[in-house]
């Protein structure tokens, strides 16, 4: 066991050192700054204790609550949508079909088109009068939507635009699927099981480590959604897409209240940590590791 500790530390040393050198410092710095009135442009910074946190929770800053609510709604919609759709797409892409290399590449394409260019596409797709989505809905005789441009539909619309970026999640699922030995499926075939039994008895249990990874990462990323507000909506209409990190950014950089922004960041940090911890804890009961390990 002692030997294990030594080797364990040896192997993980680069990562631990990396954390201590490059990450811990800035993290601690921001924690300390959250207790000050730090303004990058001001020459003096004074310690204010928990005043920033007190202001946050006093109810004085209603945009804090607004952005928190908006972000929770976004996370709630996006995490299941991304996981289910990416998994379904990965299953399709894992079929033995001609041209799957091309299909896989196409699914990944939106993730590499620069954001400024793809923002123009969303504007058009979701254009209430001439956009593709409404034209399709009209053609199907369904009610149309104002998408990004009305209070009720802006969050679901932003979730929809982020679904184009599921490429990485799909790829990770594919790598997970590739790791399932073919022989397991053959065993089911011998027993006369069909597609569904293969999925239920082999694919899903075997993919749980990957699923777990994707769930955690999607959760962490969704809480920190920023670009969509920064590029697409600027938080509108009527603050209905004022995502937490966008608000934090605006506070820290535009309004130069970096101390207060740091407090905002640490509140989010704790929220994300709690949710990640919960998922990690529950994973014991549903993630199956062939290596016999429990996380």
């Amino acid at each position: 066991m002692r030997k294990g500790l030594w080797y364990g530390l040896l192997f993980t040393a680069p990562a631990i050192l990396g954390f201590l050198i490059f990450t811990l410092g800035p993290m601690v710095a921001s924690l300390v700054l959250s207790l000050t009135d730090y303004n990058v442009f001001k020459d003096q910074t004074s310690f204010v204790g928990f005043a920033n946190y007190a202001k946050l929770f006093s109810g004085e800053d209603d945009l804090f609550y607004k952005s928190l609510g908006v972000t929770f709604y976004f996370v709630l919609l996006r995490v299941p949508a991304v996981i289910i759709i990416s998994f379904a797409v990965a299953l399709l892409l894992n079929m033995n079909v001609k041209g799957r290399a091309v299909f896989r590449t196409i699914i990944y394409l939106p993730s590499i088109v620069p954001a400024v260019a793809s923002a123009m596409i969303w504007m058009w797709l979701m254009n209430p009068d001439l956009g593709l989505l409404n034209s399709m809905l009209e053609w199907l005789n369904l009610p149309t939507s104002n998408w990004l441009y009305s209070e009720g539909s802006v969050i679901p619309s932003v979730v929809l635009t982020t679904l184009w970026g599921i490429g990485s999640t799909v790829i990770i699922f594919l790598a997970g699927l590739a790791g399932i030995p073919q022989s397991y499926y053959e065993a089911i075939e011998v027993d006369g099981g069909g597609w569904f039994s293969k999925l239920r008895q082999i694919t899903i249990p075997m993919i749980t480590p990957t699923l777990f990874f994707n769930a955690i990462m999607t959760l962490i990323n969704s809480f920190q959604v920023f670009n969509e507000a920064y590029i697409l909506t600027q938080g509108g209409p009527n603050n209905q897409s004022l995502f937490y990190v966008f608000y934090l950014w605006r506070t820290g950089f535009r309004d130069t209240e970096m101390g207060y922004a740091s407090a905002l960041a640490w509140v989010l940090f704790v929220i994300i940590m709690i949710f990640t911890y919960i998922v990690f804890k529950t994973s014991k009961s549903w993630v199956y590791y062939e290596g016999g390990e429990r996380p």
């Binding site: 303004n39 990058v40 442009f41 001001k42 020459d43 945009l63 504007m123 254009n127 209430p128 009068d129 001439l130 104002n146 441009y149 009305s150 509108g236 209409p237 009527n238 603050n239 950089f253 535009r254 309004d255 130069t256």
Partner: protein, 466 residues
Amino acid sequence: MKRSNKSIVVLFAMMLMLVSVLSACVRSDSGSSQSSSNSDGSGSKDKITLRMTVWGAPEEVDAYKFGIQRFEEKHPHIKVELQHIAADYDTKLTTMVAGNDVPDIAMMESGSIAYPLAEQGKFLNLQQFLDNDPDINVDSFVPNITYSLEPGNVIGIGPGPESFVLFYNEDIFKEAGVAPPPTKVSEAWTWDEFVEVAKKLTIDTKGRTANDPDFDPKNIKQYGVSVSTWWGVYSNFIYSNGGDFVSEDGTRFTLNEPAAVDALQKMSDLMNVHHVAPSPVQAKNIPATNVALQTKKVAMVIDGQWASAGLAQSKFNFNVGVMPVLEEPVTTVVCAMFSIFESTEHPQEAWELMKALIDPEASLEMITSGTWMPSYKDWYTEPELLARWTENLDARPSGYKDAVVDVILTHGHQTPTGYVKNFNKIMDIVNPALDKVWLGQQTAQEAMDSIAAKAQEQVQGRRDVK
């Protein structure tokens, strides 16, 4: 198994090679930059380096480079290092300030971090230079292109003004048999006349105008006018109606007072009552001004004069007139600015560089192409100078001199970002409420009253009163 082992060794070897090669080349790079920054730090008498940060498209940066080249020829002992920050300029500049690595002179924008920096004393007061300069003083400039923290403390000077004007497609007016917008302020349309014209030029997919009782506002092929719901545009009408964002003494939030409310409501009515302008939602269909006019999506557009450059490139008959007048003819003047950081070791040289860059001779190409306008007043009043940038140019149609040049000299109003303290925070409260006005869900009065108290809390006064 053997193969994989070998491949790891190869990988490691590659990595080591790469890192060593890399560190060698990076080190030599950093070495050279170190020495150059040393030389400007120690400030040896004969050679001075000035650092400057700008944003902009390649042609704008070329204009700065041209100005710098002229400057360096005149001042051979000064070298200018131009740092082009292509995007997220404020973020980059903020980190540079945090790291005490600020330039000597920087391009700034009044609506973002210029005032936060100035409030912390990061910029030199340019008033002293303006007072003592042998060539120029405050009156040399077109009005409203200097920015002040408070009276007597000038923190930035714009390389040229931009005003708002009424662009239109001449062919649409000819075909409809409607008289085009006047170019002289004295003949400007009233708001009602403007709405009437816009109605005649708004056509639905079946060819009916907005005056037709069967007019279908859901399927409009051509809008009479397009007005952006940006404050830059609606501020024109608020000022024209005698309103403002805050009261004259800077103590009161005034967007909920009659003059401003009336102007905002008139804007909203264009979209929601008369259906002659696209709502913010429909406006997503309306491309840039030049394309919108060229493709006859709209007959008239109220936009900044910078759109002239794009219009000049689209080959069609566009022209420019004066905006409709509510009470007084007004155009809001917006522009970026150059500021000098207080930490500069060469304030006089930085001032000279600034002068070189705001000299219209340096940016003539940007001016004649239509994007910019000259900063010096005499380029508007001296006929020979005026001719150089307004005659025989695609970007300067026949109405330009009357509708743009004359108006900006006599009827300009400073941009609210230049004098309303805490403007961004006030607008964080106002904008969400206005979203409802533009969509016709609330009247301007209701919307502004509903947020007046909250907005009032953010009012911190004006920069143009002591």
